[in-house]
Subunit: 298 residues, 2 copies
């Protein structure tokens, strides 16, 4: 098949790579010349404008920042859309935006699919987890692509338009809370009653048979192998909007999410204060799985 | 080797089973006739008194409730202890108690090892995660036993007396927070904006390639396969003391652990109020991994 990808950053490029590995034709666009050069190296047909992608491909995968950029891309492509085209938003868009876009594009007979994409940097090699919302018959048509992009059994239809991004939003809310939960524990091990505990060893033994074993714990172990002191980095944790949306939606829906809320508040505090050992670990974990930047201290 | 096990409940019996499978001789004692009968079936030499275990075995594994029961067992065994005997406390004892017992027994030339044991019901087949504190030369002597009881690579020396139970205490604190974090997310998926999301499907797709994949998520998936409504159970969550100890220690050590603290407070609230969808899931997860009882509603 021929797939157009708009946005060739970390995730977009990895998806292009997986599609190319499976022999699909990929048309790509990004504003960054570096990203374009990298895409060309893996055989992506890089074009000069967003509109050209929509001209050359009947299936469009968007991997751009949420909000206005998604609407901008859709508006740039409008002239080249054809009835029956499929647009997949693989980014962290707000699910209500996705529902609106689905409705707007439906008027032009364009199908819009919201696809929550989890897996970060490791997704290129291991495959992604894809949470897909939108018209089910369109989802079914796209299964051969999802199979290539996802980890084994790592794609599923969540429901009507918006559900893919809703489930991904909640996934991210959980992720915020999990990260902070592990980090607090390691903070206690590092600075608590015993001063010489070996976090590399502890994170390793916990991977084998303990109740808390997980992929995030594996990543923590990789971090502790390199360093356990974190002296040269700030504990300031960045974020995208998904955590805040999760909390806002929960409030609106009268569902208590105190853990996710607390994890979000700690991130805000960490950016004001520089954080502590725990938030340094969270920042490093985000770097480890998503390539998110970690602030260096002077 | 010959190992005596005091306490043949869920965990003690599983450890006996793993030792028996590996051809070791196990002397056992429990107050419950049912536990004794089950132990006999797997070839444990069940004896009539605690003291008899200490008479017949030079290595003692304790799997009894924390606190006074541990001291009672040690006191009952005292008459039959021999210099050089090794006592391993595999339960969820308070690490300061373990340090005290280590000191007291050292005076009798008895070695005391504190061994945090994680893995729950599944440990019997998959092996446990063992966090071991105490004298390192004694730890080394016990490695052949730890290898049999643990999951592959699932045992490690944490440090001097008390560190094994300290690390296990923090492990449990993290566990409290992780459980509640997942549960909040699933609560939002169940009762939030979209009413027909399939939690069985979501928990399954998240296992494959997502950032939040973990062993607890696998267990949640097993639960959702059976039921997603939880209508007939209470959301009251039980607990042992490890969560409270974690929070108390953290306060004493001036380390903020707001996530663990919140998870602990939610458990207390759940017992007063009957909880909500999230706490029902936590109760079911605890049942799933540890066999902890779930209250039925009438």
């Amino acid at each position: 098949m021929t797939i157009g990808i708009v946005g060739l950053g970390r995730m977009g490029l990895s998806i292009a790579w997986r599609l190319r590995q499976a022999g699909h034709t990929v048309i790509g666009f990004d504003f960054s010349p570096e990203a374009c050069a990298q895409a060309q190296e893996i055989g992506v047909d890089v074009v000069d404008t967003v509109a050209t992608v929509a001209q050359k491909a009947r299936i469009l995968w968007l991997m751009v920042p949420q909000g206005q950029p998604v609407d901008d891309v859709l508006s740039s492509c409008k002239q080249n859309f054809q009835a029956g085209d499929i647009v997949i938003d693989g980014g962290n868009s707000y699910f209500r935006d996705s529902i609106r876009r689905h409705t707007e594009l439906a008027k032009l007979q364009i199908f819009f699919i919201d696809c929550g994409t989890s897996g970060g940097l490791h997704g290129r090699d291991l495959g992604y987890c894809l949470m897909v919302g939108g018209d089910e018959h369109v989802y079914k048509k796209l299964i051969p692509l999802f199979q290539v992009i996802s980890a084994p059994d790592g794609y599923a239809y969540m429901g009507p338009s918006g559900t893919g991004h809703y489930v991904k939003m909640v996934h991210n809310g959980i992720e915020y809370a999990l990260l902070e939960s592990y980090a607090e524990g390691f903070h206690m091990l590092k600075e608590g009653e015993f001063k010489n505990l070996d976090l590399e060893k502890i994170s390793h033994v916990w991977q084998n048979g303990s109740i808390v074993r997980s992929w995030l714990l594996n990543l923590a172990h990789e971090i502790f192998k390199q360093d356990q002191n974190f002296e040269k980095i700030s504990g300031s944790i960045g974020e995208n909007k998904t955590g805040q949306w999760t909390v806002d939606e929960a409030h609106q829906e009268h569902i208590p999410v105190p853990m996710i809320e607390k994890a979000l508040a700690i991130r805000a505090w960490s950016r004001e204060s520089g954080g502590n050992y725990a938030t340094k670990l969270v920042a490093l974990l985000r770097h480890q799985f998503g390539g998110h930047p970690v602030k260096k201290l002077n």
